[in-house]
Symmetry: C2
Subunit: 262 residues, 2 copies
């Protein structure tokens, strides 16, 4: 590598929603060592299912903490999306070359992309024209084995850093099945399945006799297509869904323009 190139090490920003001390973000950081300057800015507490929430009503705190050797690590009091915004403005003072989020403890396929703090952080980066990838391993356990996920993460980050720009708002939602590495059949580019939780609230009474409710649910796949993330994961593939932030329903837009009677 030439001296000139050494000066231009890519900056890799890492965040997550399970918090700065989660095994998943430590695994992801370890997997990036040697690929560039690595900066971690992640929530100081679990922020799962925070979606695209941002903090507007109160101030944010940022503290330098000890993380993985070779990475600069900060703990932030805000949401995953806050972490990305704050990292760009107050830690990096520029846009990183890539922003990666995870490795999430648990799946973020199908509709979960909308609730996921991990994926919302990645999407936030892509809104800012920073290429981004969110990684999730289909294993909620604190002792999950990230060996295969780490290899896949490194491979994908290298692919994006070295490749041509496929989209200035590139954002990938990567889910990894929780199986032995040798059983993974490959990587499939997919669409988001229409699959979601059939939700029920567990109704209980507190010691004072007042009702409270806990969210529970059973996962259901309504999507029979074979190019979905749910299909790929079920068949032992890593799923990669390219994600975008333009929520316009263009088909319905056309229909409404024709049917509008107001």
């Amino acid at each position: 590598m030439s001296k000139a190139k050494k000066k231009e090490l890519p900056i890799i920003l890492i965040t997550n929603d399970d918090g700065v001390t989660a095994p998943g973000i430590i695994a992801l950081t370890e997997a990036m060592i040697g690929l560039g300057k690595i900066v971690v800015v992640a929530p100081d507490k679990p922020q799962s299912a925070m979606g695209h929430a941002i903090t507007i009503g109160q101030p944010l705190r940022l503290s330098k903490v000890k993380g993985v050797e070779g990475a600069e690590t900060y703990s932030c009091s805000g949401t995953p999306v806050d972490c990305v915004k704050l990292a760009v403005d107050k830690v990096l003072h520029r846009k990183p070359d890539i922003c990666i989020s995870g490795i999430n403890h648990g799946a973020n396929h199908s509709i979960n992309v909308i609730y996921s703090g991990t994926m919302s952080a990645a999407l936030e980066a892509s809104i800012e024209s920073i290429p981004s990838i969110g990684f999730s391993l289909m294993d909620y356990s604190i002792e999950a084995d990230f060996t295969a996920a780490k290899k896949i993460a490194r491979q994908l980050v290298e692919f994006i850093l070295n490749g041509k720009t496929l989209d200035k708002h590139l954002c990938l939602n990567v889910n990894i099945p929780a199986i032995e590495e040798k059983l993974i059949k490959g990587i499939k580019v997919c669409k988001q399945a229409y699959a979601k939780y059939d939700e029920k609230f567990d109704e209980r009474k507190d010691p004072h006799g007042r009702r409270y409710f806990w969210l529970t649910g059973i996962f259901q796949n309504f999507d029979k297509a074979k190019d979905t993330d749910v299909w790929a994961l079920k068949h032992n593939y890593v799923s990669v869904v390219p994600v975008q932030f333009d929520l316009t329903n263009y088909e319905l837009k056309k229909k409404l323009e024709k049917n509008w009677t107001l």
Copy 2:
């Protein structure tokens, strides 16, 4: 109206992100009187910019409170999305015929749809195949004039309740300019503009000398198209963006399938 029809009054679920006592949700509820059975389930405190966050780590509370005469009103300790989920499962015990959210104090056009609790509640309903509309008035003031917004909301809800099903996941993002009713030129079906805040954090020190950060930003429109919500609002139209929850970037999916070298 026949007796049979009287029994089948549509159920209108109302929520918001500014909280159950906000003038905007009171205006929206008043505007619906006479159109069906009206049930309000809204956050017990402001939940702006909560995006699609849901509460999974703690229980939710629900209390019946006094609201607008003619509407059943509940206050919920959760996010706007929690309110929709809890209303369907524990208050209505069925899906409502429509779910409306707002009237938000402030605009939710362009990228704001992703951060907005108001729009996330509407989107949550559409995920559950409940037609939904989110309403926002471009006036943050607590004393905003909702006169025109109320008429438009009633007109649109009647259009959806009486009309044919245009999409089983119908969700509309409606923004209303903060101008006199007679100056509103009409309603325009639009796409979401690529326009967003150029964000900076205001850095301050607390009384103990520790740094903290407040989010600030300047709104910038990068989208020169004339069929965007930002264009419509600037030209005194009500903007209606049909919104969807499939975040798949199909164009990038095709490109990746061609370029994939892993």
